[in-house]
């Protein structure tokens, strides 16, 4: 289906200029970053803004910076391919690195952004589960102010996010991962890589000096209306020695906490089962990485 198109594209060179344009055009405007989610929606008529405000020339939003406290700040115009290849992302955020390496195609990763992946509002967004377990926050600006939103509070429902007209995601801030922790991400889709995920599981496990779990975080995507954490499974792990039977129990609990549906990509029953399988593997990898004293390595 091709809908007749009609919109103007604005290509500001500075963030302030982009915010002025968004303020001026209000609800008739939308941000375009890579356009990889937006263009298909414009063409099939699901969205019909009159103005697109492009981030393509806003150089100050492109790039990854480390702040004094060790957080990594990913600018909203940074391409997924650059996130994937960034040495600090590889080393410290292997779950995000893996998500950015396996999602979509090389070409789409050379166009698309993490901010666009989140703002699109899909519960299947591959970067969402990793960012949930890393406790990332979105830095959102408008012409006359700014605010921060935890990733976990950003998704409101399928296709719906906490962004008002006039607002722009400036960056995604990922706080430093606690010492003694390991993290990982796995996803499954029908057509190996290119397809949207039918289920995604991210984990982060922090061990204390005695080898017990100080903190566990499990994030799921594509198996509930919004990307979600698994509080029951996480509390099963806390304070315990993470041996194989315990990890398996926690993985089963995570699968129980999922709220999957039947759709074109998979049945609910299949999804619940693969959440169990992947959560078990992800947690095992997290513990191995935490014990090895490195957050990193490729998955």
């Amino acid at each position: 289906m091709t809908a007749p198109l009609s919109f103007d594209v604005h290509r500001p060179r500075a963030l302030t200029e982009a915010l002025d344009l968004l303020d001026e055009y209000g609800a008739t405007a939308r941000v375009i970053a890579g356009g990889t989610d937006l263009l298909p929606k414009l063409r099939n008529g699901r969205l019909s803004p009159e103005h697109l405000v492009s981030l393509g020339r806003v150089g100050e939003l492109d790039g990854i910076e480390e702040t004094g406290d060790g957080a990594l700040v990913i600018g909203a115009a940074t391409r997924l391919f650059d996130v994937q290849r960034h040495p600090l992302v590889r080393k410290r955020l292997p779950a995000l690195h893996h998500a950015c390496s396996v999602m979509a195609t090389v070409q789409i990763r050379n166009m698309g952004t993490v901010a666009g992946n989140l703002a699109n509002g899909s519960p299947c967004a591959d970067t969402s589960a990793p960012l949930l377990v890393y406790g990332a926050t979105l830095e959102v600006a408008r012409r006359d102010g700014h605010r921060e939103i935890p990733v976990g509070a950003f998704h409101k429902g399928p296709g719906s996010v906490d962004l008002a007209s006039g607002e722009l995601i400036v960056a995604i801030r990922v706080p430093p991962v606690p010492a003694g922790s390991g993290s990982a991400y796995q996803r499954i889709s029908a057509r190996s890589r290119v397809d949207m995920a039918a289920a995604g599981v991210a984990g982060l496990v922090t061990l204390d000096g005695d080898g017990r779990v100080a903190e566990a975080r499990i994030g799921l995507s594509a198996v509930s209306p919004t990307p979600t954490r698994c509080p029951e499974a996480e509390s099963l792990l806390t304070g315990q020695v993470p041996d194989a039977p315990l990890l398996e129990r926690a993985a089963r609990e995570a699968a129980e906490e999922a709220k999957p549906i039947d759709d074109v990509r998979a049945t609910a029953a299949y999804r619940r089962h693969v959440v169990f399988v992947m959560a078990n593997r992800v947690l095992t990898t997290c513990v191995a990485r935490a014990s090895a004293g490195a957050g990193g390595g490729t998955p």
């Binding site: 356009g35 990889t36 393509g56 195609t105 090389v106 070409q107 789409i108 050379n110 166009m111 190996s192």
Partner: protein
């Protein structure tokens, strides 16, 4: 023949005016008048007549439309032409250094049977060129991952992988020879 695009023809009455873009494609500068929603693939094929760039799915899935923008592979069917202004676009027509030579990747595809019908080939070559630009000596897995955004319905992929491997080795040897 590569000519400069002609001046905009009969203007349709549109709510949003066409806009004149300056594009740099394969080192040549063009002025084209396009609607803001026109894809780069449409401009390349319909305005500049660079039809080596194919459109298979028009949805980012197949890779037939792959071109390089500032050296990075993109799906030109999902890339707005206006976003290419001020950037360097390279299409399959500009992969080789001169119009009458072939790029080592193109030679390897011919030599190793990396193409049959040819529909996917331009995109395959541009994705291969991008891969070798950041990973000059890829292993088989890296080649397969580098080309995972390009579909081929003819070759079964193995001969494409062999072609890229052969080209990479030749380029590395040439590099070593001249260094």
């Amino acid at each position: 023949m590569r000519g400069k695009a002609s001046e905009p023809g009969g203007q349709k009455t549109l709510p949003v005016a066409k806009r004149v873009l300056e594009l740099t494609v394969n080192g040549d500068r063009y002025e084209v008048a396009v609607e803001p929603w026109t894809s780069l693939a449409q401009v390349l094929r319909d305005e500049l007549r660079l039809t080596g760039t194919k459109v298979g799915c028009n949805e980012g899935d197949c890779g037939a439309c792959t071109v390089l923008v500032d050296g990075r592979s993109v799906s030109s069917c999902l890339y707005l032409a206006v976003e290419a202004e001020g950037r360097d676009v390279t299409t399959i027509e500009g992969l080789a250094e001169t119009p009458d030579t072939l790029h080592p990747l193109q030679e390897a595809f011919i030599e190793h049977g990396g193409l049959q019908c040819g529909f996917c080939t331009g995109g395959m070559l541009m994705s291969s060129a991008f891969l070798l630009s950041h990973t000059p000596e890829p292993d088989e897995g890296e080649i397969r991952r580098g080309l995972s955004g390009n579909l081929c319905r003819c070759t079964g992929y193995n001969k494409i992988v062999e072609s890229v491997d052969a080209a990479a080795k030749r380029l590395a040897a040439d590099e070593g020879g001249t260094a």
